[in-house]
Subunit: 463 residues, 2 copies
């Protein structure tokens, strides 16, 4: 057992960088610009999973430190470079199956006489959150391509200001016959195999019509950071982060979900038992809403926890599609008995937000235990109990109950308290627990007395 | 997923080597002599786990290639250097609580007029067999000290020739009042913390009296190899290998199990929930007999297996204490449904031996499956189903059902057979399964037709 790692594996993204350098011109500097933006806008303790395109998440203890995530600590999942856009030259085009295609400047969109303001607290989650658990179980699509090995921090909550996309569509005269989906174009360069394009996905009109798709320019009271989509991004409430396009420059009304690769061939929830050789894109369920999920942010996996019969646990719970966590339960016995988090220890409900929580989880036993966390949302959805149950070929949506192994030392037990004092008095550390210790628990006389009372071997004579 | 490893982690044993070098004199060369003996006596494909003291096991495919293990492939678990003993200067001393303490040369012991010959087929198993599975689950005592991370090869079967220890004790006039255990001294240097000694353990008189403890000088028709205890070793039938002392030079009758550290403080089966800080030696069950266990030797963990609806599996099964495998069962669905190995595919029963087996295990499903193996012995003992159930602080006796993840490709399915042909025709390898493949499974027309028939989104109008 080594020290608890304070970082996930970091991938440099060499191929993406080489591509940009090879193209030349303005694109040459994109990898360096991206990294400089990270250094400028993000917290120094961010865990970098992929340097370029930049992917990073906050460390566990900072992820749920507050119910609202500071901008510098919000996770980032970029698919290309970070476009550095001049707000004054920016415009948004609306076309495709809309009655009157139009072009808007940022000032047009901010004109409150035309478009009423919206302010929403929204939790955004990457469909790759907790992917590391699936990777650790079985290899799947994407464990050898640089898909980020996310832990539990690929989720964040912020207050966004902007307008409803529905109003903008109405301003264009509404949709033409057959218009059922909106394609959203981001300005970043995106490439897959030999195809190069901008980042492109779509959302259904039904979602837009419900005023659940927002065009946002403000995040937690500040202009959008460059790394989060300045000057304008989409926020699709209750959908995975991949649909909330950053650096938005075009919206196109179309008949079917986008055929662009991000929508048609990626972010698909594949069958566990169909792999590379006969996987068809149509076998994958498109990942839009996230199912109910949760994570334990403290203690850490493999941590040695010295406690008084109760282990303080912290974490988050979330459900997509406008559902919210109603109950969070923890187990210290691998998922047999469950303790509900007291309601006063949960952050408040929001239709589009997570809830952070804390609990003093009873634990009598010492040694390796397994702490498990699960959530029930307001539609009574809950999480599968094992990673395998929700393992899927694309390694997306790790929604199984979160399990962590923890080494429990319960000092409410007199013998344990005594031993800990003895270790302290001799300046001997308890951890690493596997290092031989030099303070005998027993004298030879105690040893011999023990076996006089409880012999090693069964006697074939005595009764 | 990297290539299947062909070796376990190798530890050099630097501290042991330094100790010998520091002592000087004859002991200086012990580490080098040991390694030279390995190179001379053992198969070139042995997997070296610890260079000094030498610990090694055969690779999977060679472990169960034959029901009797060739000497060069038999696993080795040494605790010190390999004594290079001159047979003509050798003598065995018998003392302690025997009526007439005596000293024997090898010729004395080989005198058939005094001691009738014994020939026995015996399987020997290290209590550390399959330890790697426990290490992978939780850290425990010994994962940071150089205890060997054994896989499934720390077991071997050979025919030994020698005499019963019972007859030698009788030749000394039998035991004195109170003599209940026999201490067995090996000539190798053994050290633990600051204590230096010879290797020393004990067996109970009841075991000796049953003629189940043998003094052996021949292994598979050859004199004992140096690495296996030349010129004389103990073979304790049905007990763990640690009791079968090599390079035997003294036997002492005593009242209680030996207080030497190997017997009193090691090879103990500790409680899962009591760890370093308050573990007492008396909390451990002395490991003498091994419980029923088994292992899958083919296919390998993480192997991509292309099959016709049945996966050929091979392995071993064993039970200690004179019990033997009656039934071996395999599952390809993680332990839900079980197929018994046909009796004609099992090697024959022996009171002290393993049984090797083969089965064509039905498997329809493709993708990641879990093959599980369990054994029932003649006392109807069977194996716990999960590693955790049998995990113990000392990481000994990994007796849980053996589980391996395998990637199944079933070419009895027409679509799969077709795709495999397509891969072949294009010279594209199937493995690694996670590498992106370039042969589309679907045209855009097929994609579009699919969604006309089975739309992505539920319609709120149609019935």
């Amino acid at each position: 057992m080594g020290p608890i790692p304070d970082s996930n594996p970091v991938l440099p993204g060499t191929h993406w960088k080489q591509w940009h350098h090879a193209i030349g011109g303005e694109l040459t500097d994109v990898p360096e610009d991206s990294w400089n933006t990270v250094l400028k806008e993000k917290h120094p303790e961010m865990l970098h999973l992929l340097q370029f395109p930049y992917n990073g998440e906050p460390p566990k203890r900072l992820t749920t430190a507050q119910p609202v995530t500071p901008n510098s600590l919000h996770f980032v999942r970029n698919h290309g470079g970070i476009p550095l856009i001049d707000k004054d030259k920016f415009f948004l085009r609306l076309d495709g199956l809309v009655k009157n295609p139009k072009t808007y400047t940022l000032d047009d969109l901010m004109d409150e006489s035309k478009f009423p303001r919206m302010k929403k607290m929204i939790t955004m989650q990457c469909s790759g959150t907790r992917r590391i658990e699936q990777i650790s179980l079985y290899a799947g699509q994407g464990d050898e391509v640089p898909q980020a090995p996310w832990a539990e921090g690929a989720i964040g909550t912020a207050e966004y200001v902007g307008i409803s996309l529905k109003k903008v569509i109405k301003d264009c005269g509404g949709l033409l016959e057959g218009g059922k989906h909106l394609e959203l174009y981001g300005a970043e360069t995106y490439f897959k195999n030999d195809e190069v394009m901008n980042y492109l996905v779509s959302v259904p009109w039904s979602k837009v019509k419900a005023n659940e798709v927002m065009l946002a320019w403000e995040m937690n009271g500040e202009p959008l950071p460059k790394i989060h989509g300045y000057p304008l991004r989409v926020m699709v409430m209750g959908y995975i982060g991949a649909r909330s396009v950053k650096w938005l420059y075009r919206i196109k009304a179309i008949e079917t979900p986008s055929l662009a690769p991000v929508q048609s061939k990626e972010y698909l929830y594949f069958n566990q038992q169909v792999g590379k050789h006969n996987q068809r894109p149509t076998d994958g369920i498109q990942i839009q809403e996230m199912p109910v999920s949760s994570a334990i942010m403290s203690p850490w996996k493999n941590q040695v926890v010295i406690h008084n019969g109760k282990i303080r646990c912290k974490g988050w719970a979330y459900s997509g599609g406008g559902r919210w966590p109603e109950r969070v339960e923890l187990s210290s016995d691998g998922g047999f008995s469950w303790y509900a988090v007291p309601l006063e220890n949960m952050s408040k409900k929001g239709q589009w937000t997570w809830r952070t929580w804390e609990i003093d989880l009873p634990c009598d036993v010492e040694g390796w235990i397994e702490i498990v966390c699960r959530c029930w949302d307001n539609a009574l959805n809950t999480q599968p109990l094992a990673v395998r149950a929700a393992w899927n070929w694309g390694l997306h949506v790790t929604s199984s109950a979160h399990r962590i192994s923890v080494y429990s030392i319960n000092k409410s037990r007199p013998l344990t308290a005594e031993r800990i004092e003895m270790f302290k008095a001799h300046g001997q550390p308890i951890a690493p627990i596997t290092w031989p210790e030099e303070l005998p628990t027993q004298t030879w006389d105690e040893y011999k007395d023990f076996f006089k009372k409880y012999p090693r071997d069964a006697d074939n004579e005595a009764v």
